[in-house]
Homo-oligomer: 300 residues x 4
């Protein structure tokens, strides 16, 4: 039946989505954002922040496996990991599949994390209660600037830098310089970088070029996040290691203990993710360096 409640998502000014709602779970606001948790017919339980889809039950695994495992596997033996953002807890969940000693998650929005803990247990799957997990509610930039720890992997799982929002200064050269300094010698930084499609790829270009101005080795990869209705880009930066050179056998061996839990990532897929469509490869170098003085403004 066509009648009833729908979630209207303004993908852009000229493309609207209407998602049929099966049930309403939570509608409200935190100090930082509008939160809607609904079960939609097409994607199951779904989290919308400020009206934009963030995560859907049917395929959050694609996004979270793609964000975490290529980065974790590029490091030979990550022990100390930090997640910037990561509200739902699914990034933490994937990190903890590896034999890390400690995984810190720094999210500014405590209310949102609590809502996700209560209403999205399929996402965190108990990761918040793992003894290796360290939850911090703080601004990720301040936290990293004031930390004296060294991390093996830094995972930037932040919302796009909406004007006036909390992420604006988390994609700049200055911040990435801090990240570089906090990384161990074999350290890996991975940044979720928004759309990889042919028309809205300005953001990934800029992240790529900005990271290139700080790190010796930077590569973009992508994964098909169906509920985002597009290929999603991720940027991986290291002090020299090449993520495409991790041997397939090593990947197979290291993910073997939890391979039955994976639904997207495979050893063969690892380096294929880094093979980009020609249009994307060609535009990446055309980005600009993002700085604190000139941060990106992502219009909502």
């Amino acid at each position: 039946m066509l009648e009833g409640t729908w979630y209207l998502e303004k993908h852009t000014e000229s493309l609207l989505y209407l998602h049929k709602i099966r049930s309403h779970i939570y509608h409200g606001k935190t100090a930082y954002q509008k939160v809607d948790i609904v079960e939609i017919e097409a994607f199951g339980k779904t989290l919308f922040l400020d009206g934009k889809i963030q995560s859907a039950q049917i395929d959050e695994f694609v996004y979270h496996e793609a964000l975490v495992h290529p980065a974790m596997l590029t490091h030979p033996d990550p022990k100390n990991v930090i997640i910037l953002g990561g509200g739902e807890g699914a990034t933490l969940r994937e990190v903890l599949r590896h034999p890390v000693e400690r995984a810190t998650m720094v999210d500014i929005d405590e209310q949102l994390v609590k809502l996700c803990e209560a209403y999205l247990p399929e996402w965190h799957a108990g990761a918040f209660y793992d003894e290796r997990a360290n939850l911090v509610f703080a601004d990720a930039r301040s936290y990293l600037e004031n930390s004296d720890e060294t991390y093996d992997v830094i995972i930037s799982d932040l919302t796009e830098p909406l004007e006036g929002g909390p992420s604006v200064l988390l994609f700049t050269r200055e911040f990435y310089t801090t990240a570089y300094e906090r990384l161990s010698e074999d350290g890996v930084l991975v940044v979720q970088s928004a759309s990889a499609d042919p028309y809205y790829n300005d953001f990934v270009r800029d992240v790529y070029v900005t990271l290139k101005s700080v790190f010796p080795k930077v590569k973009v990869f992508r994964a098909p996040v169906f509920s985002f209705q597009m290929d999603w880009a991720f940027t991986l930066a290291t002090k020299g290691r090449d993520p495409e050179e991790v041997p397939v056998e090593e990947i197979g061996r290291r993910i073997a203990p939890f391979t039955d839990k994976l639904r997207f990532y495979t050893p063969e897929l690892h380096s294929a993710l880094f093979k980009l469509p020609k249009f994307l490869k060609e535009v990446l170098p055309k980005g600009r360096v993002i700085t604190d003085e000139n941060p990106p403004v992502w219009l909502s």
Copy 2:
């Protein structure tokens, strides 16, 4: 401005898209389908058949390069090619980039081809007027059954088999057996196979299993067709050749003469396309063999 004309696309019963229209080009019907050609803000000039998006100016190249080049490159030297369907002429355009001797395109809907010729010149780009092109307006199955030619590559560029529509018997084991017989020893068949996403992949499973019942070597690959809002699946079948074993160097050499025309396909991307997400790899063998007696029914 929100007000004005929009194209409503019913992606499924529970997911509607509203595309803002920039200009109206053609609204009408052929003997086989409802045709809307509009310029939409998000994707440029766009063709909708029976209310479903078929091709958009901004990224038709992804679909058409992915459909044509992996198949053409898997054959060592294709000379005689046949396209089943292919209305807009863009598949023909990509085929003719190769040094073929003859490319036959068999489409049942002459009116649609004429509309595309007139209103979508960016798609055919003159391919219809190439002396190697052979346009036939006929049912593709009858044509192939009554042909005594041998083809090096057969490209199935057909709409999904909507109930009562002209494509219902073009995805069956019987038809693929005819295709096998019309192929040369190194021959390649490629079939556009609809969605590669985690929830609507029934069709590609069935096409895969059906082709496996006829051909010794069958592989699925995928490409991100942004205007379809998802990864798209293609199935490639041969009498033994493995598409992933075509050397990168050979691809580079063979596409060199027209590489500046390509916007999606690259030598490095070729075999990466065949690396599938785990969920898709696992479900493919679960399809069923499609037969003339039990054809697929795709509900509109």
Copy 3:
């Protein structure tokens, strides 16, 4: 903000409404119908049954005052009143403003009445707890057929006769004959009769002609129910009294005790409501007599 939850109402196949939702109150089903109670920005708290708007906080008073007071005032001194349907309790509320001795409300859907009692207190305003109120959960037709009471006013506050729904046999000549028999000499029957607009007025025509086949005096009147997005028709039938001949002074005197509670009805408006646009006046006689054998079918 455009994004968020909206209620999609299919006014017709070719006119859809999207109502922005402020808060969700109840979504569920009774044995008879799908019930959505939401607060919408435009109309406040709103009840939708089977996806169609039934009553909105902002102007339910127009519908309920128009349904009740012209009928009550046409009778010189109504003491015993029966309401057929009337789920929300607002019709009962308006009836009880008059010095009646007893007001019976017969609704088939007990669950709906309970939901309205709990979630729509602004509608019933305590009317359910008035000692003169008599709530019966039963089929209105059976109840009236098996009753031996005489009523001064019968108020038909029923949903349109959707195919397969409970109202199908409540708009027929046979049923109206029973109603005639249950009415006192000065008795008045009023029937909510759906749209009074120029294109969808088939229903009021048929109700008018059917009542004319049973009652000596039948008149249609209308009121602008904004949340229904149109003028709404009501049909009033008597054994001879003319509703337009009630003196303005009598109306003023009889409503004086509760005139501060009224927001739509006034003495001067009473007979103005019966003055119809020419197009409506002309089509009314073109209806058909509805019978048990040939009931109306209102397609949802």
Copy 4:
């Protein structure tokens, strides 16, 4: 079929309409406004200006008969009439049904009038070619200020005063004072005054109070314009005559020559139109006087 082109009308920020389009007639812009002429399933041929419905084939007669005839009948014998605005020509059409000597129509948007002349012949019905018609393309305020003619009826058929639009200074006390001066002793001014509904009636209140500050006798009336989805308000002002006191017999006699052309207005309906719902009657005096220094701002 749900799929296809729809016209999205933003009735308010929280209520959207989607009108199914049957055919596209014209999409473009004049120097003053965006113009869409489409045939929609629900209402037939329809004119949208700046995304708002202006006139629909199915019921333009309600609006135009209500705007013209009560005013014309309130004057004992109108000979010289001026229409301010009136783009489509239907107001002119209704005026010319009366035995006037001259009817001047002053519209600022010549392109729009030409588009209506060409594409909406059902509206003007040849009125533009009547020898009594005098078309002027000019700003209505300047025209009236610089005119030394005396008019029997002035009809304000203007769009609402959108910010920055041409109508902003056509609803002020200063302008109505000019109108008063141009009117003959029995002269009548009528002003289309937007919505008469319970929630968006600010405009009619202000027009009412502003006219009261200039004219001795001012009355609001209303008509159900279905394609506007609500009751529509009109304000009528005179130097003393009371529109409700025109005898029914006089109306009948004067409209007799063209009564077969009317579809809304009748002698009996005339004074009923002036009987207002209580809520509207009560809010009218609460408006404010609109002045040139403080004109209304109608947000689009």
